[in-house]
């Protein structure tokens, strides 16, 4: 918006300050060479609502300077070029040329200066310039605000045409913040943004995957590759609570989830990282806030976008499992090692070797992974959007479709998104918007779940049959046959229909006042249907073996979730005395949700192809159903003040009431304050203006709350009805009991966060954002142990304290080298998580939260190599069971001469530290190449069970286990092979590995057809090839993805999960 009029009163101020003020009021950019202004005289002036022209004429009177207004730019130049030396004048040559933008449009007002001199000129309306150069070998510098600065060596007499690239990060950039927008340069909190175009560079089904590595401090761990369940776990700045640690996600102002948001629909994502920026969301902001804004209709004309890609998936890594002969020989070794007779006789193994190949039914040699992973993981995505409008109305309609297949049979995911975003200008003061969003997701997997499929394909020895030669299912392992279950075991279908309507009315009675009312009901209807079909397996002699489940059965559940959201806001915004910008926001919001569900179960379906409840036997039929509800009511406000956009101040407060607390604790206040100093705007920085484009120091403090504490009604004691039943005389009898102790004093968890930040923009090319923070959560709801003799489950109490200390750093640099555009972005962050207070709780488990250590730390014994001989064992405290040489030796931490739970301690942390990413973009003519590297510098991963332990509970072993301890191989990677001995299977550092990694998350090569080649209405055509997770460098356990163990209270893995995927895509992006 460029105002024609300005008001300014000043006495004896430097001309530069006048320019700055005029720019602020009018939006006009002033272009000048700093040296030129050295000779300018200070000016005194007093204008009220005067035209820019008038003011400028006054300023330039009696100055050695003149000016020229071109579009929104004021070009300041010397009245005459300074005289050069005689020699220079004699040797002068002329260079001419044209300056354009990337699309070939002429750029007017570009300053062209001979490097290291004061000789300069500007381009005219056609972008042409002409300049005299003293000699060959000099360099011309082309610059204009909002565009890249280019340097070119000149040759005399030549024509030098230059293309300038528009800079993305303009100082004028506006970002979405809580209940409003703000100029990025005026932000005082820690806020990061990701644009939709950045997300679009990574063609993935889930937004979480696209966000991984995109924002420093936002840690995303993707622990599964299963279509539809491959959403990452998102943690912002560590983990602040033992309860729900998910950040609040607001999709166009409505509480939502990151899962299944189609990245194609996203215009921008804002991450509110510190308390100051998030506290306006009060009670749910303790884990940070992610604001998603969807694309809206464009103002003019009609455009149609079509994006599509197709791809294939493969696991990033798979363990290599031994073949049948190896399995038998190694298990015999394990038996012998534990004093048992060998399980398989020499004779039998010999038979296997000689007759096996000709009789695989009798002597199977099954590669379970190979036989089960029969699919190629084909996936496709299509997104079609039409957008258009007039001055009064804008519409965007889009349809997205994702189809993602699995690598095992009967695994897949389909997603359909439909969106209609409408904006209407009813009159000059009244605007309305109405958005409708519908989504359907269909997830399909074997009825057993994919965890089962992968668990068994990695567990069953190769000498068990999968498929007999006549096509019948082999016995697998006690009837657990993953391929049989995947193909014939029935399906779990999860079909969820969800949608919301977002109605918004905005009334602006005066320039300084905006009022807004929003009503956005949300509807979600998950439906799950699990039909577990009986799979009959056969022994090699074709006699029937296990048939599981014993009775085929159908379990169906319908759920309906209805969420109401009403919001009223008023925003006051005014500039006082030309310097004091005051913005005040006040709001009210209330939300409530009710969920109802109903389930039905029957078994024995004589005709399994008819999978409806009525087709099943009524004997043992079961139904279930209930409902719950909650509500929130909130009052909130924000005050922004800035002085000349130089000194910035902001205060937020939210007063939240929640139904989850007793009446005396329902409401809580969450305030925050923040301030910023744009040091780059200070007059004393003026001389550095050509280097320091912008510089800002920020500080903030605030508190946030968390009401997501598990239960909906933890404040009162309720009777469990229908849980504690019993049967008398073969009839069910309804029971009731008080099971839980209530705590009426329960209240909010409170997170307090301090943030100090620095934003720096140099040469308009280099950006740096650094934040340091301290985040402390108190009153964490803990189920403090109570004596179990009381017979009740412990109540929640506000007792725990956890802190997160960390920093985020983002660096970016963007420039051009000849025809080559390049940009590099580096994100790096660290967080140190520590439990401060657990009221002395000292649980022992694989993962514990103990005072002084990170949440959910790994806990166990310290492994100290292997026992070398019997003497070694005799000299060591007693361990577990029958210990022999080659077993893992544990450190007797407390020195009491026995290894027991008292010797366990914290051995590692699953919370990633030093998360980093680097993005490199290269563009050359129509080609673009982007490389995205992402990694974690420090994190521990724990594997257990059959995932890594040889012969765990009778399972098989992997190729890597062959490097086991024997008297001849004492420096082995694994302990001696043993059977049914628990010593080596204790939780210990032995099974803990660094899960740090660096991976090529994404590599993409694209080509955009030159406009000249496009015919007719086609505006843009880009094709690309893309690969994700192409390679990974890690020291984690062989066969497993380092992200596999996940992130949270269940981040140790037994190998029974759907692995992470490598994806290869080709795609197309067309605009009409």
């Amino acid at each position: 918006v460029y105002a024609q009029k300005a008001s300014i009163t000043a006495k004896n101020v430097p001309l530069r300050e006048v320019f700055t003020e005029l720019r602020k009021q009018t939006g006009y950019h002033f272009l000048y060479l700093t040296d030129d202004l050295k000779d300018a005289k200070p000016v005194s002036l007093s204008f009220y609502e005067a035209s820019l022209e008038e003011i400028l004429q006054h300023c330039f009177a009696n100055q050695p300077l003149t000016y020229n207004i071109r579009r929104n730019r004021v070009l300041v130049s010397r009245k005459e070029a300074p005289p050069g030396t005689l020699h220079d004048l004699l040797m002068q040559h002329t260079v001419t040329g044209k300056v354009t933008d990337e699309r070939g449009q002429a750029l007017e007002g570009v300053t062209v200066v001979i490097k290291n001199t004061q000789q300069a000129t500007t381009t005219d309306a056609e972008g042409n310039y002409r300049i005299n150069v003293p000699a060959e070998g000099v360099t011309l510098v082309f610059s204009i605000i909002g565009f890249s600065t280019e340097e070119r060596a000149v040759s005399a007499g030549a024509t030098l045409n230059v293309q300038l690239r528009e800079l993305v990060s303009d100082l004028e950039e506006v970002v979405v913040v809580g209940y409003g927008t703000q100029k990025k340069v005026n932000l005082t909190g820690s806020v990061a943004t990701v644009s939709g175009s950045e997300l679009a560079k990574r063609p993935v089904g889930q937004t979480t995957a696209a966000l991984q590595g995109a924002v420093p401090g936002l840690t995303i761990v993707q622990s599964s590759g299963q279509p539809g369940r491959d959403g990452g776990i998102v943690r912002l700045r560590g983990i602040g609570t033992l309860s729900d640690s998910n950040p609040l996600v607001m999709l166009d102002g409505v509480e939502s989830s990151l899962a299944n948001v189609d990245p194609n629909e996203i215009e921008s994502i804002t991450v509110l990282k510190d308390a100051a920026s998030a506290s306006i969301y009060g009670s749910r902001a303790a884990n940070g806030v992610i604001l998603i804004t969807t694309k809206r209709g464009s103002r003019e004309g009609l455009t149609v976008n079509y994006n599509s890609y197709v791809g294939w998936q493969r696991p990033t890594d798979m363990p290599k499992i031994v073949n049948a002969i190896d399995h038998m020989e190694l298990i015999n070794e394990a038996y012998t090692n534990t004093g048992r007779s060998p399980l398989f006789t020499e004779q039998f193994i010999e038979e296997y070797k000689t007759q096996g190949a000709s009789n695989r039914d009798r002597y199977p040699d099954t590669d379970w992974q190979d036989v089960t992973m029969t699919e190629n993981g084909f996936m496709q995505s299509h997104y079609l959007a039409m957008s258009g409008g007039t001055d009064r109305m804008r519409i965007l309609g889009s349809f997205g479709y994702l189809d993602q297949g699995g690598v095992v049979p009967n695994v897949g995911f389909d997603r359909y998104n439909l969106r209609l975003n409408t904006d209407v200008k009813l009159n000059e003061k009244l605007n309305a918007s109405a958005d409708i969003f519908l989504r359907r997701t269909d997830l399909k997997e074997p009825s057993t779940g994919t965890g089962y499929i992968f668990h068994w394909m990695r567990r069953i020895p190769a000498n068990q049959a999968a498929i007999l030669s006549n096509g019948l299912w082999g016995e697998g392992w006690n009837g657990d046959n993953p391929i049989a279950k995947a193909v014939d075991g029935g399906l779990r279908n999860e079909e969820t229909l969800s949608g919301f309507v977002n109605l918004n009315l905005r009334y602006k009675p005066a320039e300084w006042l905006t009022t807004e009312v929003m009503y956005a009901p949300k509807y979600n209807e998950p439906h799950s249907r699990v039909f577990a079909n009986t799979v009959q397996t056969y022994r090699w002699d074709l006699t029937p073996s296990f048939a599981t489940p014993a009775r085929n059965n159908l379990n169906q559940q319908f759920t309906r979730e209805w969420y109401n959201n009403l919001r009223l806001t008023a925003t006051f915004d005014k500039l006082f005395a030309e310097a004091h910008q005051v913005t005040f926001l006040a709001g009210f919001q209330q939300e409530d949700q009710r969920n109802d569900w109903l389930s039905a179960y029957r078994e024995v379906f004589l005709f399994p192809e008819y999978q409806q409840i009525d087709a099943g036997n009524r004997e043992n039929e079961r139904t279930g159903g209930s409902a719950n509800h909650w509500a929130l009511r909130s009052f909130f406000g924000r005050l922004n003040y800035n002085y000349k956009e130089r000194y910035l101040f902001e205060a937020n407060a939210r007063y939240d009431g929640s139904s989850r607390f007793a009446s005396n604790n329902k409401y809580a206040l969450f305030p925050s304050v923040s301030a910023g100093w744009r040091i780059g705007q200070e007059p004393f920085m003026a001389s550095l203006m050509h280097i320091v484009t912008d510089a800002k120091i920020r500080a903030s403090w605030g508190t946030l709350g968390n009401q997501n504490i598990g239960g909906l009604y933890p404040f009162a004691a309720f009777i469990n009805v229908g849980g504690p039943n019993y049967a008398f005389g073969d009839q069910i009898s309804m029971g009731a009991a008080l099971n839980d102790m209530a705590n009426p004093d329960i209240k909010w968890e409170t997170t307090e966060m301090t943030n100090i930040g620095l934003d720096l923009n140099l040469w308009s090319k280099f950006n740096l954002t650094y934040d340091w923070y301290y985040r402390k959560t108190t009153g964490i709801l803990l189920q403090l142990d109570i004596p179990n003799m009381l017979g009740l489950t412990a109540p929640y109490q506000n007792a725990g304290v956890v802190e997160n200390k960390g920093w985020d750093l983002a660096l970016s640099y963007r420039d051009q080298w000849g025809q080559l555009n390049y940009g590099i972005t580096v994100n790096l962050s660290d967080v140190k998580n520590k439990v401060i207070d657990m009221r002395g709780i000292q649980r022992t488990a694989r993962q514990v939260s103990r005072e002084g250590y990170p949440i959910n730390s790994f806990f166990g014994y310290i492994a100290d190599g292997f026992f070398m001989d019997e003497a070694d064992i005799a000299n060591h405290p007693a361990q577990f069971g029958n210990v022999a040489p080659g077993d893992i030796k544990y450190v007797d931490v407390n020195g009491d001469g026995v290894i027991n739970t008292l010797d366990q301690q914290v051995i590692g942390s699953p919370i990633p530290r030093y998360t980093y990413s680097a993005n490199i973009d290269l563009g050359y003519k129509g080609f673009d190449l982007s490389l995205f590297l992402q990694g974690v510098g420090k994190v521990d991963g724990f594997m257990f069970g059959q995932g890594i332990m040889p012969f765990f509970e009778g399972g098989t072993v992997q190729e890597q286990h062959k490097d086991r301890w024997t008297p001849d191989n004492v420096n082995a990677a694994f302990p001696r092979l043993a059977f049914n001995e628990s010593n080596n299977e204790q939780n210990s550092t032995f099974w803990l590995r660094s899960a740090a990694y660096l991976r090529l998350k994404n590599i993409q090569l694209g080509y955009t057809l030159p406009t000249a080649l496009l015919k007719g209405k086609l505006q843009r055509l880009r094709i690309y090839a893309n690969a994700q997770n192409l390679f990974t460098l890690t020291d984690f356990w062989q066969g497993y993805d380092p992200e596999a163990p996940g992130f949270g209270n269940d981040s140790a893995s037994n190998g029974g999960w759907y692995p992470q995927m490598k994806v290869f895509n080709v795609g197309l992006d067309v605009r009409f």
Partner: protein, 537 residues
């Protein structure tokens, strides 16, 4: 307006309004029975899994129950901890009702009111009985205790016994002698008296044990079931020998006993098993132990044995769930009687890595009707049966020294039920002889029913029978000689030539100064500093 934020559960009443109607009273009482479904591990009932913590059973799964049996339990053991937690949960439910029951007397018919209160007081006594025996004296809570007052020391074992016996005395008059079929599983007078005889016997209070057992006999309600094997199957569930059993019901609550007990070929996992020492302790049909009986032939060790051996344990070459059971490694094929005519099929028991490690399986409670549905058994499990009461009576009389014909009658009734038919114990035995007889008799009769652990403790023989190698059968042979059987029926293999070939299933330890009682949960000690841990844990 503040109503907007008042949201209460939509499916359950609040504590403040509960227990004001007769229906709520009944439901709350049912909630106290619910604790009987206690399954501390692997979806198996406490009654049967307890056997793995004694000298005659073993849990193959690497579990805290296995560790308990090994003598390596710590205060963090989850198996023992589950007993504490769950039983106290049941006790809490009873206390809750008792604290709120008084006004109900106004609206509930008196007889019913008294009966329901008697039922739950029995249940509380039953739960305390387990706690008292397993831990040896525990905190005695008889009313709901608020958290602020939850610092309570352990009462002594004797105090608990006093309490339990007094509670049972109070309950007995209000309990029905019989229940109709629709109320099968409810507490009866017989159950309260049977528990009383057991508690008093375990506590060495002979007169009370005798009188309680006598009272059960005098009820005239109970008779020994003719077919011993059938008693532990679906067919025996309504037998008049059963005084009280835990009621399971498909679709409501089931257990995985078939998974634990069935052979591999019968599609079970054979992971809770009896061991060699139990098998060898059974007498021959002449009433002599195998080291003395002329009927014992080491080449045919299972012939001419007390029939209860075969009813209790699945022996080699017997038919089990339709298959001929045989673990000999050369028996690569076996008979499948599920077909007519029977077929030869490959024998999983000989080849499967996880076929029973001892070479034996439990037959009690392994009903072939559960074939193919191993996690879904609703076979009721017996809490008290008449034979136990008879043996309680006999033992108390023997220990009290008042040996008369009724002692012989009681023992012989058990020994001589038609399907068992062992020779009678002849009169004229000394107290020591009878003590030996009754102890063996309890082992033969009650093995696999969750009673053995208490017997070896109270007889003070646990430190003799628990430690050392836990043995399974020799895989491809039999013992060359009969082991020596001592006065408690425990075999000793020092005289057996090929004893070393027996399969060592695990090596157990037992500390006499520690393992006679279980450790108390570590967290219980931390949250209730008034409690003292049992010695040496």
């Amino acid at each position: 307006c503040s109503d907007y934020l008042d949201r209460y559960p939509l499916d359950s009443p609040s504590d403040e309004t509960f227990l004001r109607t007769e229906a709520e009273f009944e439901a709350a009482v049912t909630g106290c029975y619910n604790t009987l479904w206690f399954k501390p591990i692997d979806n198996g009932s406490f009654l049967l899994t307890l056997e793995c913590a004694s000298d005659i059973g073993w849990d193959r799964n690497v579990s805290d129950l296995q560790i308990l049996g090994q003598g390596a339990a710590t205060p963090d053991n989850t198996y023992t901890g589950n007993f504490w937690n769950t039983l106290y949960r049941g006790i809490g439910r009873v206390n809750y009702i008792l604290s709120k029951a008084e006004p109900l007397a106004e609206i509930v018919p008196t007889e019913k009111y008294n009966r329901l209160l008697a039922e739950i007081r029995f249940l509380r006594a039953y739960y305390y009985f387990y706690l008292n025996e397993l831990y040896g004296g525990v905190p005695l809570l008889t009313t709901p205790v608020p958290l602020s007052e939850a610092v309570l020391p352990r009462s002594s074992k004797a105090e608990l016994t006093d309490f339990i016996l007094a509670e049972l005395d109070a309950a007995v008059p209000n309990l029905p002698i019989q229940t109709d079929a629709a109320n099968r599983g409810r507490v009866t007078r017989g159950a309260a008296l049977a528990l009383k005889s057991r508690v008093a016997l375990y506590a060495g209070r002979w007169p009370e044990a005798i009188s309680a057992a006598q009272a059960v006999m005098d009820l005239g309600q109970y008779h020994l079931h003719e077919n011993f094997g059938e008693l532990f199957s679906y067919a025996g569930q309504t037998s008049s020998e059963i005084i009280m059993s835990i009621q399971f019901l498909k679709g409501v609550m089931v257990h995985s006993t078939p998974r634990h007990f069935f052979s591999r070929i019968a599609l079970g996992h054979s992971n809770k098993i009896p061991v060699q020492t139990l098998v060898d302790s059974y007498e021959c049909t002449d009433g002599l132990s195998i080291d003395r009986s002329p009927l014992f032939d080491p080449a045919h060790p299972f012939a001419n044995r007390d029939p209860r051996l075969g009813y209790t344990v699945v022996l080699p070459q017997s038919v089990f769930v339709g298959y001929v059971f045989e673990t000999h490694p050369d028996s690569l094929q076996t008979w499948n009687y599920n077909f007519d005519p029977p077929r030869r099929v490959q024998n999983e028991e000989a080849t499967h890595a996880y076929a029973t490690f001892s070479g034996y399986l439990w037959r009690k409670y392994a009903d072939p009707a559960d074939y193919g549905d191993i996690d879904n058994s609703d076979l009721n499990l017996i809490m008290f049966r008449y034979a136990e009461v008879l043996l309680n009576y006999a033992e108390a009389k023997i220990e009290q020294g008042s040996i008369d014909q009724s002692v012989y009658d009681a023992i012989n009734a058990v020994r001589q039920r038609p399907s068992v038919n062992m020779p009678p114990i002849t009169p004229g035995k000394t107290q020591a002889e009878l003590r030996s007889i009754i102890r063996k008799e309890r082992k033969y009769e009650l093995a696999g029913e969750g009673i053995r652990l208490f017997d070896i403790r109270r007889w003070n023989i646990a430190h003799e029978v628990m430690p050392g190698d836990l043995l399974g059968r020799i895989r491809n042979s039999f013992l060359s000689d009969a082991p020596r059987i001592d006065e408690n029926g425990t075999p000793h293999y020092d005289n057996v030539a090929n004893a070393a070939q027996m399969r060592v299933i695990e090596r157990r330890q037992f500390r006499q100064d520690r393992d006679y009682v279980w450790p108390i949960r570590r967290l219980e000690l931390e949250t209730n500093p008034a409690i003292e841990q049992n010695p040496n844990y």
